[in-house]
């Protein structure tokens, strides 16, 4: 028995792989749920209900999916070019930081002008944060995995420092949080009396846009070529370094936008618990989507549903809501195997 690469992976298999991975992850985590003594099927039933069972649940899942789509796209575009950006968490916080600085009343603009300015500021801050590690990679050959990971901690400390210092809200009752952004910088709500905001529209628009860029433009072609084989791309006359840095700006920018959208659409101000690991979950989203921009939307909805549903489930049962994080991690590992099975086939002999 040996593994043999397929020359061509049928579309059905590519779609089946994430489904199979998710089913496998759910089955594995059922063991953990059973260990807690809770009835497994009822637990998963409650999880499902909590994620999509009501209008409220549905809008909560969509709200949670918004930053995940953006961090998922951030990971997808970077991984495509074999730029291992594990620093989306830090880039997200840099974007959020830029949003509260720029959107905090220093510009007196109407909403139609201020919102784009704040979002672009968030993107720029996130992009520049990844540009550093990317430059170190292309200039000195420093592995970007470790530098982006380490920068996550530096950024969180920077945010903490600013929130206890110059950015601290004087009306914040002593909590380390920033002053709220100006009303004109707030993203409009998509559905009245829910938390769902226009960040979702931006995220969905960007995933379609990125898919078009990816499949229909020279830009996308160059990105894919550099990811597939940088040496061959260089021989074909492509400016590999510039494409790498461009990808870094885009990837970091998407993560930064996630932070800016969370601040302006959901929280209104910046705290140190803005993101419960959206940057890291984004990696899982991208892998489940097999780095496809449209697939990212579906994967983000799934992961968001797991988190929202697990919160609801753990309120009704003695199952800690960390089961969601275990499920997400298990999905990633199962997806890697499923992706392999889809790309290879078993051959006897």
């Amino acid at each position: 028995m040996r593994l043999e690469p397929r020359t061509d992976t049928p579309l059905a298999l590519r779609l089946l792989a994430p489904v199979g991975a998710v089913v496998a992850a759910l089955a594995l985590c059922a063991l953990l749920v059973a260990w807690t003594g809770a009835p497994v099927l009822r637990a998963y039933g409650l999880l499902f209900e909590g994620a999509v069972g009501s209008r409220f649940a549905l809008t909560e899942t969509l709200t949670r999916a918004t930053p995940l789509i953006l961090t998922g796209l951030a990971a997808a575009v970077a991984f495509r070019a074999k730029l291992w950006n594990i620093g989306a968490e830090g880039q997200l916080y840099m974007g959020a930081l830029a949003a509260v600085v720029v959107g905090g009343g220093m510009l007196d603009l109407p909403a139609w002008a201020l919102i784009p300015v704040v979002m672009i500021a968030g993107m720029a801050a996130g992009g520049v944060t990844l540009l550093g590690p990317a430059m170190l990679k292309v200039r000195f050959g420093v592995d970007e995995v470790v530098t982006t990971l380490l920068l996550n901690f530096v950024v969180l400390l920077l945010v903490s420092m600013l929130l206890e210092g110059p950015l601290k809200d004087p009306m914040g009752m002593g909590w380390p949080q920033s002053a709220p952004v100006a009303e004109a910088a707030e993203l409009p709500k998509l559905v009245e009396r829910t938390r769902l905001h226009a960040g979702l529209t931006i995220a969905l628009g960007l995933s379609v846009l990125l898919w078009l860029v990816d499949t229909r433009t020279i830009w996308g072609y160059e990105n894919r070529a550099v990811g597939a084989n940088p040496r061959a791309a260089a021989f074909a006359g492509m400016p590999v370094t510039r494409i790498m840095l461009r990808t870094a700006l885009l990837s970091g920018g998407l993560a930064g936008l996630a932070g800016a959208a969370e601040v302006c659409g959901l929280k209104g101000y910046l705290t140190l618990d803005l993101s419960p690991g959206f940057g890291y979950s984004g990696i899982v989203v991208a892998m489940l989507a097999q780095l496809h921009p449209i697939g990212v939307v579906g994967a983000a909805l799934f992961i968001a549903g797991i988190f929202v549903g697990a919160d609801a489930m753990s309120r009704a049962m003695p199952v800690p809501n960390y089961i969601a994080d275990v499920l997400v991690a298990a999905s990633l590992l199962c997806m890697l195997v499923a992706g392999l099975l889809a790309r290879y086939r078993l051959r006897r002999g």
Binding site: V145, L150, L157, Y322, D325, L336, L340
Partner: protein, 307 residues
Amino acid sequence: MDFLSIILDILLSAAFWTAVLRIATPYVLGTLGELLCERAGVLNLGIEGIMTLGAMAGWMAVYQGADLWTGVLVAAACGALLGLLHAALTVPLGLSQHVTGIGVTLLGTSLSYFVYRLVLPQASTPPTIEPFQPLALPGALAQTPLTYLAFLLVAVVAYVLYRTPVGLAVRMVGENPAAAEAQGLNVTAIRVGAVMAGSALMALAGAFLTLSAFNAFFFNMVNGRGWICIALVVFASWRPGKAMLGALLFAVFDALQLRLQQASGGVLPYQLFLMMPYLLSILALVLVARRASYPRALMIPYRKGER
């Protein structure tokens, strides 16, 4: 008092060097573990999660009534199991070592938190255990047994890697697996074994935190130490002795920033000092990047008969 004399005062105190050895211990163990994996050609980004699981499992075993050394063994066994998972996916299956490692970290971390919360549903202040006590030795030598074990393991790993057939085999599969195969060595088995042993060492680093340095398990307590170990391996150019020196040097800076933080009396924000270890690691990577001599088969999966 000027800045230099403050530093001199710190460097001359025995308490400072006691702290250095204590701070260095998890870095020594973690770096040694990562080094072993990478020498066999497998990057193990699961380190952060393996350390977290080691910290939780070791502590939990002792909290449930086991003695401290049993706790250490439980931690090592849990680490080896996660290592087996990482190795199974990256060695025979040849999956991306980057992404698998991140997955193992996510799994180890979330599993630790899940189990901890399951056993202790509403512990607002973390319950404590009776940790390892420092040996009754003078000055900086008054360390807990795990610190001594860590430095002993440096010698053991160095000896095994450079003076035994097993070590030669490990280095060989990390440099040239095809040649190792031609020698009749089983590349897959050696790589899996090295990753499991290395992961057990990483879990020991985590267990040191809950069984020696502190007496309780906190969320986020590993706090990037694993990632710093990965930087230290590169800094040490994959040599156990240099890894120990790197970890010690790093601990000197870390202990120094803690004391300077106290000495500065809040003039500078404390976060600036806390950033130093991470920035220092990045700086170390940049400094050695040009002349880093990676194990030649690092991150390259090996399949029989394929080139």
